[in-house]
């Protein structure tokens, strides 16, 4: 085995190789500390050629490869298993932005570029890269694409899949497929790009991508709205599309329990409204049209005020605030973005990243909360998420004072109660987090035989040795 490590060293050098336990630890442990694996080594190639050389070596030596980006995933997709016959291939040294084309609205990046860097680079060129999620300061674009990440602006711009034009991928055989085509139209046979997007590194490693850019919004209005129920939230969103002239870019629903956790655990967090309410919506409208000045001064904020004012008279809104400056807008967003962090500080929880049709959300929430409480009466449901996409993080915080050991034996019953209901609503058991290690059994259980068999056929055809991120998504 030391021979193998030396061969790796010959490819990536000392800078690209981590073999000591302490150094490997952050790469074999996930952010929530739910998964701890073992790896022969952590390999950090400097470019696509080195990635290909490492993969080819692994294919020859029959060592499995676990690709990893910023290691912010929630389902263990980038974590090696415990057996230890795997390497972690981290893309975190591949951080170059190789091209930006503001005229053609594209940017070409290496897989290890941090999402926030991409957003800021686009902004510096008066453009927008709309992918935005809580982990954006740490997650990298390769992982975002490999998991078809969602986030808070899917409603308007789509998932990661919709934000990319071309890919460069290293295949399980260590060959390089250059599909870095910045084409809007390209009907040339099977769509390989779409196959790799969302494949969680089981079919190959995304090493570079051509991303799509949008014009940068010039007018943004952000509101924090207390609503009486999820029904009201859905009705409010439904009317907002027209009232905003199709400029709703985010609509996030939050239950009071999650807000309480954020206020308790996140320093500096304050409640924007004076009263306590059961449900809240964070609304963002944005337009590329600048605010008008002069006699008819105004823009989205005035439209939003008028719309929410009417909704308040109809009882769809109980109270609200509209950010008067960017500092307030960021503070409102922080209340939403810090849910996951606050939940982690509170203690153990199980997460259900589910989606159903938007119009079915209210009924699902009612039935789902009842089902969760039936499975574990003491549980503390924490519901939040992207209501505009029909995607909720329908989570269950452990009862106060319970540790992992006491809580986890109940997790299966809670999961089954939620997922059975999701499936009966025609929904998905993983809307944006992926399958990874966490949901392999659930996927096999809830999806049809033909669907799972087709996935296995694809996996076997592209990776006959089963060396690319084995055990994730489907077992072969």
């Amino acid at each position: 085995m030391s021979d193998f490590v030396e061969k790796l060293r010959a490819i990536v050098g000392d800078k690209g190789l981590i073999t000591d336990e302490q150094g490997k630890h952050p790469y074999v442990t996930d952010w929530r500390e739910s998964f701890v694996g073992n790896a022969l080594a952590v390999v950090r190639p400097a470019n696509t050629r080195e990635v290909a050389d490492v993969v080819r070596l692994c294919a020859a030596e029959k060592v499995s490869v676990v690709p990893q980006g910023g290691n912010t995933g929630l389902v263990g997709g980038g974590i090696p298993q415990e057996k230890g016959r795997e390497i972690v291939l981290s893309l975190n040294r591949m951080t170059r932005i190789t091209d930006i084309d503001p005229i053609g609205y594209t940017m070409t990046v290496e897989a290890g570029v941090i999402l926030k860097t991409i957003q800021e680079t686009a902004a510096a060129h008066d453009r927008l890269f709309p992918l935005s999620l809580a982990a954006e300061g740490s997650c990298s674009i390769g992982g975002n694409l490999s998991t078809n990440a969602g986030g808070v602006q899917v409603l308007h711009y789509g998932n990661a899949r919709q934000l990319v034009l071309g890919l460069e991928v290293v295949t399980p055989q260590g060959e390089i497929w250059n599909g870095l085509r910045a084409l809007k139209k390209d009907n040339t046979g099977y769509d390989l790009r779409d196959l790799y997007l969302g494949a969680e590194g089981t079919l190959g490693i995304i090493t570079r991508a051509v991303l799509k850019l949008w014009p940068k919004p010039k007018d943004v209005a952000t509101a924090w709205v207390a609503v009486p129920s999820p029904e009201a939230a859905v009705a409010l969103l439904s009317g907002a599309h027209a009232a905003s002239e199709d400029n709703v870019t985010s609509c996030e629903l939050m239950g009071r329990q999650g807000i309480d956790l954020v206020l308790q655990h996140i320093p500096g967090a304050t409640d924007p409204l004076s009263g306590r309410h059961d449900w809240y919506v964070l609304f963002e409208w944005s337009s590329t049209r600048a605010r008008r000045e002069g006699a008819n001064a105004g823009g989205l904020r005035e439209k939003m005020e008028a719309y929410l004012g009417e909704a308040m008279e109809q009882g769809l809104v109980l109270d609200a605030t509209i950010a008067q400056n960017e500092t307030q807008a960021r503070a409102l967003w922080a209340l939403r973005e810090n849910h996951t962090e606050a939940s982690k500080k509170e203690g153990p929880s199980v997460k259900h990243d589910i989606s159903v049709a938007v119009s079915k959300i209210p009924a699902f929430v009612t039935e789902g909360l009842a089902a969760m409480r039936k499975a574990l009466p003491e549980c503390r449901p924490v519901t939040f998420g992207h209501v505009g996409d029909g995607n909720l993080h329908f989570n269950c915080q452990a009862p106060a004072g319970w540790d992992k050991a006491r809580f986890l034996p109940h997790a299966h019953a809670v999961n089954a109660a939620v997922y059975d209901l999701v499936v009966s609503y025609g929904g998905s058991i993983s809307a944006e987090h992926g399958i990874g290690l966490l949901k392999v059994d659930e996927l096999a259980h809830y999806r049809s035989k033909v669907e799972i068999d087709t996935m296995r056929t694809i996996k076997r055809a592209l990776d006959p040795q089963n060396l690319m991120n084995p055990g994730k998504i489907v077992r072969v």
């Binding site: 010039k218 509101a223 924090w224 709205v225 304050t270 924007p272 409204l273 004076s274 600048a290 000045e293 002069g294 001064a297 005020e305 929410l308 004012g309 308040m312 809104v317 109270d319 609200a320 605030t321 509209i322 950010a323 008067q324 400056n325 960017e326 500092t327 307030q328 960021r330």
Partner: protein
């Protein structure tokens, strides 16, 4: 007692400032504008005084172009009662603003004027002090805490190395520091009510104030870019550099 607060329309705190290519000023086209954060604190303090019964009316003052109405509207949405806008497209320097404020103070006769200690665009930190001098009033700058009682106001001031407690006679001018309070969010019902609150628009001429700038801006430049650091190999090398290059030890 009436309280007058001054609110300035400035480039939003979170916007990355860009200097115009011709070095005459900073880029303001299509840039988000908001209320000066220190003025928000002034508005919040005045509203709290009214809520506690120490003030009867809060008047929000601004000076500048027509868009300053929006800034006053924000103060009204937070809870101020009415607004006064001195509308002009002229460049306004602290002395001109202090004279305009004095003219409005003469008219309105407030017991207290609360202003931000400085605006985050020009960082002058002059208007409050100049106004107090023009009025011949007491002034409490960099307020961290205020307590109004029996015709005087106790001001806890943020000074170098600590806090200073002073008691000054009213009427007085107060300038706010960052820790005086945490401004509230404007609630939707208050935003709607604010639309109906009156804003009086005046011209500098009508107040008999000549706002012509007394200072001339020669040039506006970006601050020098920070140079990249270097890695040193040993502690000895670090010490050597600190001693001989940086000259700090």
């Amino acid at each position: 007692m009436k309280v007058l607060v001054a609110v300035k329309r400035v480039i939003d705190y979170n916007v990355k400032i860009r200097v115009k290519a011709d070095n005459t000023g900073v880029e303001t086209a299509n840039v988000k504008m908001s209320m000066n954060p220190f003025d928000e604190i002034a508005v919040e303090e005045a509203i709290r005084m009214k809520e506690k019964g120490a003030a009867t009316e809060v008047i929000a003052f601004s000076a500048g172009p027509a868009q300053c109405q929006e800034t006053i509207r924000t103060a009204l949405a937070m809870g101020a009662d009415r607004g006064v806008l001195v509308q002009t497209d002229a460049e306004l320097q602290p002395l001109a603003v202090a004279k305009l404020l004095k003219a409005v103070v003469d008219k309105e006769q407030p017991g207290l004027v609360i202003v931000g200690k400085q605006a985050i665009d020009d960082d002058s930190n002059q208007t409050g002090q100049m106004l107090a001098a023009l009025l011949g009033w007491s002034v409490g700058t960099f307020a961290n805490k205020l307590n109004v009682a029996d015709g005087s106001v106790e001001v806890k001031r943020e000074v170098d190395g600590g806090l200073e407690n002073i008691k000054i006679k009213m009427p007085a001018v107060i300038t706010t520091d960052l820790r005086l309070n945490e401004p509230r969010y404007a609630s939707l019902p208050n935003i709607m009510k604010a639309k109906k609150k009156p804003i009086e628009t005046l011209a500098p001429d009508a107040l008999g104030v000549d706002v012509a700038p007394r200072l001339k801006t020669l040039k506006v430049e970006e601050p020098p870019k920070r140079k990249a650091g270097i890695k040193v190999k040993t502690v000895a090398e670090l010490v050597e550099k600190l001693r001989n290059e940086a000259g700090v030890i």
